[in-house]
């Protein structure tokens, strides 16, 4: 695994732990089809399916990580979410799309900026 992928995986692990601590159950990770990939799928204690796009960075020098989610990427997330729901027979479930920005600074310190229902 390259450094970039490693950083990405570290960030996703961190977000997963963050969600579990908030009583979410993780349903899927790195779900991938031809269209693209969903980083995390979780279900809240109220039964809402949550799709999470995780952006991990080691510095904010290139702008806020969530700015990397352009309009096209947001639409693709939306389509992927519906595809996931269909394939997993959860059609009609309440769902939402969240975004998380993770900053890993020196000394393995993690900072998270979690945004609910970004679309």
């Amino acid at each position: 695994m390259g450094t970039k992928q490693l950083i990405g995986a570290l960030g996703e692990d961190f977000v997963a732990k963050y969600l579990v601590a908030k009583n979410y159950e993780i349903l899927d990770r790195n779900w991938r089809i031809k269209e693209g990939e969903i980083d995390l799928v979780a279900i809240s204690e109220h039964g809402v399916v949550v799709f999470i796009e995780v952006k991990t960075r080691t510095s904010f020098a290139f702008g806020h990580p969530l700015e990397a989610i352009t309009r096209e990427k947001a639409y693709r997330l939306q389509r992927l979410a519906l595809a996931w729901l269909t394939i997993h027979h959860r059609w009609g479930f309440e769902y939402r799309i969240d975004a998380a920005a993770v900053l890993i600074s020196k000394g393995e310190k993690f900072e998270i900026d979690y945004r609910i229902a970004v679309l």
Binding site: H64, L66, E67, D113, V118, L119
Partner: protein
Amino acid sequence: MALALTSSVSLTGLTGNLIDVEVDISDGLPGYILLGLPDAALNESKDRVRAALVNSGEVWPNKKVTVSLSPAWLPKSGSAFDLPIAITLLMAQGQVPKDQPGVCIYLGELSLDGQVREVRGVLPAVLAAKKRGFQRALVPFKNFAEASCVSGIEVIAISSLSDALNYLRSGEVPESPEVISATDSDYFLDLCDVAGQLGARRALEIAAIGGHHLLFIGPPGTGKTMLAERIPSILPPLTEESILEVTAIHSIAGTLLDRELLSKLPPFVAPHHTTTAPAMIGGGAHAIRPGATSLAHEGVLFIDEAPECARGVLDSLRQPLESGSVTISRAVGSVTYPARFMLVLAANPCPCGRFSGRGRSCTCTQIAIRRYLQRLSGPLLDRIDIRVFVDSPSRIEMASDQLGESSEVVRQRVIDARAMADSRFSDCAWKLNSQIPPSQLRKRFRAEKLGMNFLHTELDNERLSARGFHKVLRISWSIADSNGHTIPNRDDVEAAFRLREGMELLA
């Protein structure tokens, strides 16, 4: 929920519309949405505002920013909203104390390093804010002078975003530039520069008294342009009210730097004869800008080589000549600008330009000569009262070392004569002799009996048309004012009749 509101002004013509600038910052993907029919320059504000904020050491919210300019239906243009948007954004974040509504307006374009740049139309915008009861205006440093012409509102000059924030946080007022007010001595051109041309000088004076439109006909190099350029110097200085109006128009057009601020000198505008109709009467796709006719408001519009003008362009002058204003309609809306000016046209007598005196050096055919001036349309000529033939000064005039009368002397006579007209028209809707309607000319404002007889004879001899009859009467009133007569006598009428020489060329 982070929300804040400030006020700014958007202009439709000379009318200022108050705009509420609202900013909402909410969770969600970082982004910036601008609502309220912005044009291209305004849509680019996002990147200017962001860079200016960051480079002024402020925080850009990495959240979803929604900016709304209301009323939403009014199309907005220009970059003057940069400053209010930036400030409202910081207020929404709680970085700056929030504004009391209805107290302060903000105007200014931001540069990427956080400096505040000048914008157009600050004077009418501040004027509109004052009328709506606003007490304070934050304007760009370079626009301070024009904004401070408005009394009854506190104007604060802002040279950078940090200045504005510092003021809002601590109440510390940044230093204002010194305003140099215009003086009476800003007349650069003087009538005494013109050698000879006694007839033309007299015609200028009469035209200035009555506000008559003028046509100069003469060979090249005889001084038509020189004479026209000096008309503002013999017109009475602008009144307080018209100074503000003229300055406001120039503020919108962005030509205020060419003109001394609050100058009492009537403007002089000389569009080239290849000019287009939109440049002449105003136009533009996004924001409708005033044209030459409005820039010449309360002053002189001079068109050299008038027969060379495209016909549509000259004819577009008819509406402003008639109503004293122009209404321009475009997709973004319709706008009315004031356009009350003295029209001065200059023309060569023929295409080669040498048809004067005995016309021996002229190479044009008879038909070409006759057609040349016919390019000026009848309805336009109809509105021009005085036609003067300007010929080369004689050798005696050129050799004389005596200067002609200075503008100051002539101007004083014009002011005195206009005062006479003013008292005569105290109960009328018009102020100048050139504006007397025909019915009133035949009833109330007749000349002396002998003078009227003279006109009737000329009418009988078909040397005068009904239209010309009224014009001669109007001019004779101006001449009477100039001579101090309470009613035009026969000499005044005859002099007025002669001021229409050059007519035979326009048969």
